[in-house]
C-alpha cells in the first residue's frame, strides 16, 4: 500500500499534510508457526482517536504489545514522527512518549492513588521520596483531566470503583507526558455510567493533543469517540478509514467476514493484497 493511500485512509481529509505520530509499516509477528500479524500498516495521527477493532484472536493485543515494547515484531518497521525506531522494552516505549493502559490496568491495590501514579517514576528530594511534590502533581493531573470525584488522592486504589481505577491508570499515562496513549478494552468491565465517564476522558485526551489508540469490542463506544477506524482480521488490516465512512452494520460485516474492502467511498479495489 502506498503512503499516500494510507494517509487518505486514516487521516481526516483536511489533515493529509500532517505527519503521523506513529506509523506501522508491514508489521509481522510470528509465534512459532502461528502468524499473529501478517503485515500491518497503520498511521496514528497526533491528537486523534484511532479505534482498532477485530474479532477475538485477530491480533489486536499482539499489535499493541509490539508498540508497547513487550515484544519486538518479527518483521516490519515503526516510524515515530517519521523516524524509524525500535522499541525493545516498556522503558523505551515510555521514553518515546508511548503509554499503555492495559486491560488489567496494572495497578497496585495496596498503594494509594499518588503512589500508583508515580510507581517506577517517584519524585525524590535528597534521595528520599518527595510525597508533597508527588501528591500535588497527582492532584493537578487529575483535575486537569476533570476527574473530580476521586477527592482524596490518598485513598487506596483497591477501594476505588472500576471507572475510578481506569481514570487513575489513564491519569498515570497522561502525567508521564505521554503523546500516544494505547488503551486495551478500557470499558470492557464497566457499567453504563462509568463507561460514559471513561469515554469522556478519552475525548479529553484527544482535545489535549494526545493521540489515542483504542482497542474495543464495543462498537457503540468506538463510534461515539473515535476519529478513525481500523479493522484487523486474522492478523491483517482489512479496512481502515475515517469513522464517518462506516456505520455499525458495515463494521460488523468487516469484522466478522473480513470481506469488505474498505470505506464505501473507496470501493472494493482497496482490498489489501494477499501475502
Amino acid at each position: 500500500m502506498s503512503l499516500t493511500e494510507e494517509r487518505r485512509a486514516t487521516g481526516d481529509p483536511g489533515e493529509s499534510a500532517q505527519q503521523p505520530l506513529l506509523s506501522l509499516r508491514g508489521i509481522r509477528k510470528n509465534f512459532g508457526a502461528v502468524q499473529a500479524l501478517r503485515g500491518v500498516d497503520l498511521d496514528i495521527m497526533p491528537g486523534k482517536i484511532a479505534a482498532l477493532v477485530g474479532d477475538n484472536g485477530a491480533g489486536k493485543s499482539t499489535l499493541i504489545k509490539t508498540i508497547a515494547g513487550i515484544w519486538s515484531p518479527s518483521a516490519g518497521e515503526l516510524l515515530w514522527e517519521g523516524r524509524p525506531v525500535t522499541i525493545r522494552s516498556p522503558r523505551e516505549a515510555d521514553n518515546l512518549g508511548i503509554a499503555t493502559v492495559y486491560q488489567d490496568l496494572a495497578l497496585c491495590d495496596n498503594l494509594d492513588i499518588v503512589q500508583n501514579m508515580f510507581l517506577g517514576h517517584e519524585v525524590l528530594s535528597r534521595r528520599l521520596l518527595d510525597e508533597t511534590k508527588m501528591e500535588k502533581k497527582a492532584k493537578e493531573t487529575l483535575s486537569d483531566l476533570a476527574v473530580t470525584t476521586v477527592s482524596s488522592v490518598r485513598q487506596l486504589v483497591g477501594s476505588l470503583s472500576g471507572g475510578q481505577r481506569q481514570s487513575v491508570a489513564v491519569a498515570r499515562a497522561v502525567m508521564r507526558e505521554a503523546r500516544l496513549v494505547i488503551m486495551d478494552e478500557p470499558t470492557a468491565a464497566l457499567g453504563v455510567s462509568q463507561t460514559a465517564q471513561v469515554l469522556d476522558l478519552i475525548r479529553r485526551l484527544g482535545d489535549r493533543g494526545i493521540a489515542v489508540l483504542l482497542i474495543s469490542h464495543n462498537l457503540t463506544d468506538v463510534f461515539s469517540v473515535a476519529d478513525s477506524l481500523a479493522v484487523l482480521y486474522l492478523g491483517k488490516l482489512v479496512s481502515s478509514g475515517s469513522i464517518s465512512d462506516y456505520d455499525t452494520q458495515k463494521a460488523v460485516e468487516i469484522i466478522t467476514t473480513g470481506a469488505s474492502g474498505g470505506p464505501a467511498s473507496q470501493g472494493r479495489e482497496r482490498t489489501l493484497p494477499a501475502d
Binding site: 497496585c108 476533570a146 476527574v147 470525584t149 477501594s159 465517564q197
Partner: protein, 441 residues
Amino acid sequence: MAPPDTPPTAPIQLGEDGLTPEDLARPGTLGGIPMPESEPDSTFGQYLTAWAKRIRYGESGILPVVAGLIVLIIIFQVQDSVFLSAGNLTNLLVQGSVFVLLGMAEVWVLILGEIDLSVGYNAGVGAVITAILAGPPHNLPWWVAIMAGTAACATFGALWGVLVIRLRLPSFVVTLAGLLGLEGVVLYLVSTNGTGGTIRITNNVLLDITNGNLSPAAGWIVAVVAIVLFAVLTIARDLRRRRGGLVAPPMAITLVKVAFVAAATVALVLICNTNRGELITLEGVPYVVLIIAGFLVLYTFMLSRTRFGRYLYAIGGNAEAARRGGVSLGWNRLWAFTLTGFTGGAAGIIYASRLGSISNNIDGGTLVLYAVAAAVIGGASLFGGRGKMIYPVLGGLVIATIYNGMGLLGLAASYQYMVTALVLLAAVTIDALARRGRTST
C-alpha cells in the same frame, strides 16, 4: 503540562451508578458519600470519619493488636499482681526483644508475599559465629564478631533470594531446605567449637546487650531527645503539607499522636528506671530496648521514605504492575531477603546474650514460627503488600506477654503454645473479617 487550550468540558463524575448528577456534583462527596479529606482544612470530626472509613475498608492498622495486648495485660494482672511490677515488665521487654526482632526480619519478605522459614536457625548461625569469634581462642573485638555473624546470616538470606528469584523456586521450599541445612550448620559449629554442646559468651559487651542498662539519667535524656525529635518531625511534616496546599491532619490529631508517643516513652522509662534489684540496685533502660527502638526507626524509615521500601510494597501488591512501571523486581527482592537474614542474625546475637551462651538445642523451628506469628498478630499479611515494622513489635510483645504471664501463673509450656495458637487465630480472623467489609463498601 496542561495545554492552555484545555476545553471547558464538564467534569467527569465517577460516582456510583444511580445517583443524580446533583448528588455527584456536590463538593466533597464521592458518589454521595462525604469525603472529609477533600477539604484542606478538615476538622477533627471529619478526620475521625475518614479514619473510620479506612477501618471499615479493612485497614484497621494496629488497633486490634493494641486492644488485645491491653486485654492480656489486664487478665494476667488480675491473676497475679506481680505481672505489672517494674521488674517483671522489664524482664518481659527483654524476653520479647528476640521475638520482635525475628518478626521484623520476617516482615521484609512477608511484604513481598514470600516467607523465610530459615530465620530461626539463621539466628542460631549468627549467634554461634559471633560467640566463637568473640570467645577464646580468637578473642576478636565484639564488633568484629557481630559484623561477621550478621554478615554470614545476610549471605544466607541473599542465597535464598537468588534461588527464589533466578530459579523461580517457591520461597517456602527454599527456606524449608534452609531451615534444615542451617540446623546442621549450627550443630556442626557447636560440636566443633563448643564444650558439652554449648558455647559460652564471655565478652562483656555481648552480655551487656540484654543484661546491661542505661543509667537512669541517660534513659531520660534519650527519651526526651526521642520525643522532641518525633514531635518536631511530625509537626514539620504537617506544616510542609499545609504550605503545599495539601490536606494535613488537624492539629489536634497530631498533638494527640505526639502526646501518646510521649506518654508511652515516659511510661517505659519510668518502669525501667524503677529499682528492680533485690540485693543490689538494678535500674535503667536495658540496652536491648534501645537497640530494638533503633531497628524500628531505621526500618520504618526505609519502608516509608525510600524508593526501595515503596517498591517492596508494590511488588508485594502486584508484581506485574511494578515490572511494567520499570521496577527492578530482582534487585529489590534480593535486598529484602538479605535484610531478613541480617536482621535474623542480630536477633540471634540478642538471644545468645540473654542466655549467656548458645547451645545445640536452640529450637530454630519454633523461633521462626514465633517470628511469623509476631508479624501476623501485629497485622502483616502473608499474601504480601501489607506490613509495617511496628507490627512485629506489638505482636512480639503479645507473644512475650503470654509467655511471661503464663510462666508467672506456673502453667506448663503446653498451655503457652495453645494460648499463643488461639491468639494467632484470633488475629487472622479479625483481619479477615475486617477485610470482608471491603466488598460491601
